[in-house]
């Protein structure tokens, strides 16, 4: 029973203790062979062997519940382990996110993979190095303090021994001390990790381990999984929210060569065929008669007024400072502003894919690109009605996921279809399955008021947010009701949480003498199988809330007659935030002055805007330069500058690449992206109706300023640089035109109307 070609199963692997010698893995995961492997619960975090093995050739095999979703985390973790073990990165190999061979670290999310997820790996590597040195000391008869290590060779003078030579001789050592769980899981083996001052691998631009294989075409994505006997499935979604199956007629599909079955379970409908093209055709040929969908959604044009009028289901207030009512009542000048952000789609590049092999006895393997394999294991087990340890979820990379896009649901669809036909089934979502029916980033609206005294000081701010919950579909997909397909079979979503678009959390924590900030969560339009159900989309609530707050700070600056950078520096306390803003301004060549620029009669006008992004200890200053066509309303972003302080930098080049990509993605979210819907369903279904950034939208110049803080631990970098883009662009449009756009996206129609 070999789950890997030429390798050994984990059970064989762990049989002998701390570090076990076995034949070298060839490094390639072979999915078709995984299907034969037994399932089991995740290994215990208490055991060093659960995390790391040293192989006879002296290379290291690491097992982690973290994974790679496109931002180079796999490379960063490789560097961190290699650094701690004094090995070259090429000799450190990883297994990621396989529930039967890796510790449950909560999967990935929230820009925590390096900031939190690397800590146990660093500690484990330090513990393994200490154990190896101890052993080498005995073998060489040299005190540990006198030993040197270079690329896995331990030496003292002319005496030398390699990691590989002593690996098999090691016995199991003491258990690791375990603290926390999920993202915060940490272990400690008692060995002190290296002083970062001596790092030689961490902090260097090691080429990403996935990049050349991807470009050369040897990398395997989840979409490439082929299991013996595998069938192909497609799903057929309802005519709209709340529509039920009245009848299903598969007579036309039956004549398609390779057609196997149409599966109907209440309102879940899918087809299964011997090949993919047959499944595509069958999904079109099956005629489903649906009951009339509910008119559960408001008219799109009324969305924001609906949100402002709706009774909140939950409210949270941060402690009040001072008396905002009094500040507003006595102000020399007050300003009010309302900001609106629509639902947005993950619109992942690959629309979603899952492969499931449900055996008759319930033993199941699922291959998924979802960000949280250990949670999926629990959720799929619940969906099947079997204990979690009967289900193995094997993570393989899908397209960039940006949160909880629906890869989780595609996996559940595969589980439902595989169970129904008794064979492995690969479900590939079509484009509309993702863009129309995938979960969405929530719509958010914000009402702000500000008081300015006679001297031009901002004396008070009131902030009120109203948003659908980014946790309605929980980011942790560990229950059956989390999945769209399961909801269509009648299973309720019981795990939703209220998630707030907070002042100070989802936007910078500016201090004012008088501050009153409250956040409301709105109930979903419909709590079962809604195409407008909301969940985590990259930096949940961050870009939206920062758009409102960072635009409003600009409005305050304009009303107070001060430079927008100067006002920010005055009201933010965190030194790193100030430093990041100033670093961006220096790079840009910020000209201190009041916005907007003096009015001209020019057809094309230019401007610049600045915004701050603060996210869990990462600080971003973003400056946008725009050219606005006053006749067409087209906003062209001509330059972006982004300063970025996420503490210690692990891989500068990979970090820059992720920041640059975040900037472009968030530029598209600012100027183009909006989920369209009618009273019953989502009508933006593809790349034409849901537009994202394209080549022509990309600024000619993108400058990134990395701020490296070697004295700090590494922080998060996956999302923070998404946060400030929208406000920077809107502020630049104001600077150019004197007109404030308070609604996302800043589409030509909207800008043109505002300028008229």
């Amino acid at each position: 029973m070999n789950p890997r070609k030429g390798g050994v199963s984990r059970r064989e692997f762990v049989a002998g203790g701390l570090v076990v010698g076995f034949s070298m893995l060839d490094g390639e995961l072979v999915p078709r062979l995984f299907a034969q492997a037994a399932t089991s619960a995740a290994p215990s975090p208490k055991r060093l062997e659960s995390w790391l093995h040293i192989l006879p050739d002296g290379s290291v095999q690491v097992f982690t519940g973290k994974l790679e979703i496109g931002m180079g985390v796999d490379t960063a973790l490789t560097q961190i382990v290699a650094e701690e073990l004094d090995l070259s990165p090429s000799r450190v190999k990883f297994v990621f996110g396989d529930t039967s061979t890796t510790v449950d670290q909560g999967g990935v999310g929230g820009s925590t993979s390096v900031s939190q997820g690397s800590r146990p790996l660093r500690n484990v590597a330090a513990a393994a190095r200490a154990a190896l040195l101890q052993r080498a000391s005995q073998r060489l008869g040299v005190p540990v303090e006198q030993l040197q290590v270079k690329d896995g060779v331990i030496s003292a003078g002319t005496k030398r021994i390699t990691y590989g030579e002593i690996a098999t001789a090691l016995a199991a050592e003491q258990d690791l001390k375990v603290t926390g769980a999920g993202f915060a899981l940490n272990v400690d083996g008692g060995a002190k990790p290296k002083d970062p001052a001596g790092y030689t691998v961490v902090g260097t631009s090691v080429p990403r381990i996935d990049m050349a294989p991807k470009i050369l075409g040897t990398y395997k994505y989840v979409t490439d999984v082929r299991v013996p006997g595998m069938l192909h499935g497609r799903v057929i979604r309802p005519a709209g929210v709340g529509a039920s199956v009245v009848s299903v007629d598969d007579s036309a599909a039956r004549s398609i060569a390779g057609y196997v079955k149409t599966v109907v379970d209440k309102d879940f409908v899918g087809v299964v065929c011997e090949n993919e093209w047959a499944a595509v055709k069958a999904a079109r040929a099956v005629k489903v008669t649906w009951s009339a969908p509910l008119r559960a959604f408001p008219e799109q044009k009324d969305l924001y007024s609906y949100m402002r009028a709706a009774k909140p289901k939950a409210t949270r207030q941060i402690p009040k400072t001072g008396d905002v009512d009094a500040a507003l009542a006595t102000a020399a000048k007050t300003i009010d502003a309302r900001y609106d952000v629509p639902f947005q789609s993950h619109a992942t590049m690959g629309p979603g894919c899952g492969v499931a092999d449900v055996k008759p006895d319930g033993v199941t393997t699922v291959w998924s690109g979802g960000q949280k394999p250990h949670a999926l294991q629990k959720g799929y087990a619940q969906l099947l009605g079997v204990p979690a340890d009967r289900v193995r979820v094997v993570w393989m990379q899908d397209a960039g996921s940006y949160g909880r896009p629906g890869f989780e649901d595609a996996g559940a669809d595969a589980v439902l279809l595989s169970k129904a036909v008794g064979r492995p089934v690969r479900v590939q979502w079509m484009r509309h399955d993702m863009t129309a029916w995938g979960a969405k980033g929530p719509a958010c609206v914000y009402d702000l008021a500000g008081a300015i005294d006679a001297q031009g000081n901002v004396t008070g701010v009131r902030f009120v947010s109203r948003a659908f919950s980014g946790g309605a579909i929980l980011f942790l997909p560990d229950a059956a009701g989390n999945y769209l397909g399961a909801q269509l079979t009648g299973i309720k979503n019981t795990t939703g949480v209220d998630e707030f678009a907070d002042w100070g959390g989802a936007a910078p924590n500016y201090r004012f003498q008088n501050l009153d900030a409250s956040s409301h969560v709105l109930a979903e339009f419909h709590d079962v199988a809604s195409p407008l159900r909301s969940t985590h989309l990259r930096d949940p609530e961050g870009p939206a809330t920062s758009f409102a707050v960072e635009s409003f700070i600009d409005e305050l600056a304009a009303a107070a007659g001060v430079d927008p950078l100067a006002l920010r520096l005055k009201h933010i306390e965190e030194p790193r935030a100030k430093y990041a803003l100033q670093a961006a301004a220096d790079k840009y060549g910020w000209d201190t002055r009041v916005s907007p620029k003096p009015k001209t009669a020019d057809h094309l006008v230019t401007g610049r805007g600045i915004a701050l992004g603060v996210r869990n200890g990462t600080y971003v200053g973003t400056i946008a330069e725009v050219e606005v066509n006053r006749a067409s309303g087209v906003v062209k972003v001509t330059r972006l500058v982004c300063s970025h302080d996420c503490g210690l930098i692990v891989n500068p080049d990979a970090l820059k690449s992720t920041i640059a990509a975040n900037l472009i993605q968030s530029l598209g979210r600012t100027t183009k992206e909006e989920v369209m819907f009618d009273r019953s369903t989502v009508t933006s279904v593809d790349w034409n109706s849901y537009k994202v950034a394209r080549a022509s939208d990309v600024p000619a110049v993108v400058d990134i300023v990395l701020i490296n803080r070697k004295e700090l631990p590494p922080g998060g970098a996956g999302e923070p640089s998404s946060r400030a883009t929208a406000a920077a662009i809107a502020n630049a449009v104001f600077d150019a035109t004197g007109v404030r756009i308070r609604q996302i996206p800043l589409s030509p129609e909207k800008v043109k109307a505002a300028l008229a």
Binding site: M211, L216, G217, M349, A399
Partner: protein, 162 residues
């Protein structure tokens, strides 16, 4: 269903497929050439791009009959770009720039760049963007991608001079 010959990466394959089946599914499911990827099935994103007679084509929207039988054409996928075990210079430029995030879209960008440079060895930045406007990179890797294309241009023109 009909048995036809499909030539991919210089190798002739006998395949028994529905003539209307998009080339993408034949490449992926029949020949297990997995790099052309399903992005939309609508020709809107380019994830499924292959070269047909050296032109970048959306394989999700191209019936296999258009490249087989009487219409037989040579199809190149990204697997077939490398020659003599060495990456194609365009691939190398994308590797050197570490151009992508998730990389799911990359067949479109790499093969469109290759086809562009074959007909226009020194494209301007505007010409590169125009050639790429119909492609999607959802992660937003565009700035690195454009740098990679210009790196490939430089490499190509340097090589020609040498």
């Amino acid at each position: 269903m009909a048995a036809v010959t499909l030539t991919v990466n210089g190798k002739a394959h006998r395949v028994d497929v529905d003539p209307d089946c998009p080339l993408l599914y034949v490449l992926r499911d029949t020949l297990e050439l997995n790099n052309p990827r399903f992005g939309c099935g609508l020709g809107q994103c380019g994830a499924c791009t292959v070269l047909v007679e050296n032109r970048a084509v959306r394989s999700c929207s191209l019936p296999v009959s258009r490249v087989t039988g009487a219409n037989a054409k040579n199809v190149i996928t990204i697997e077939g770009l490398a020659a003599n075990g060495r990456p194609h210079p365009v691939q190398q430029a994308f590797i050197d720039e570490q151009a992508f995030q998730c990389g799911y879209c990359l067949n479109g960008w790499v093969l469109t760049a290759k086809a562009l440079l074959d007909t226009n060895p020194k494209p301007s930045d505007a010409e590169v963007r125009r050639a790429c406007e119909s492609l999607v990179c959802r992660c937003g890797s565009h700035t690195r991608i454009f740098s990679a294309v210009q790196r490939a241009v430089t490499a190509k023109n340097t090589a020609v001079k040498a």
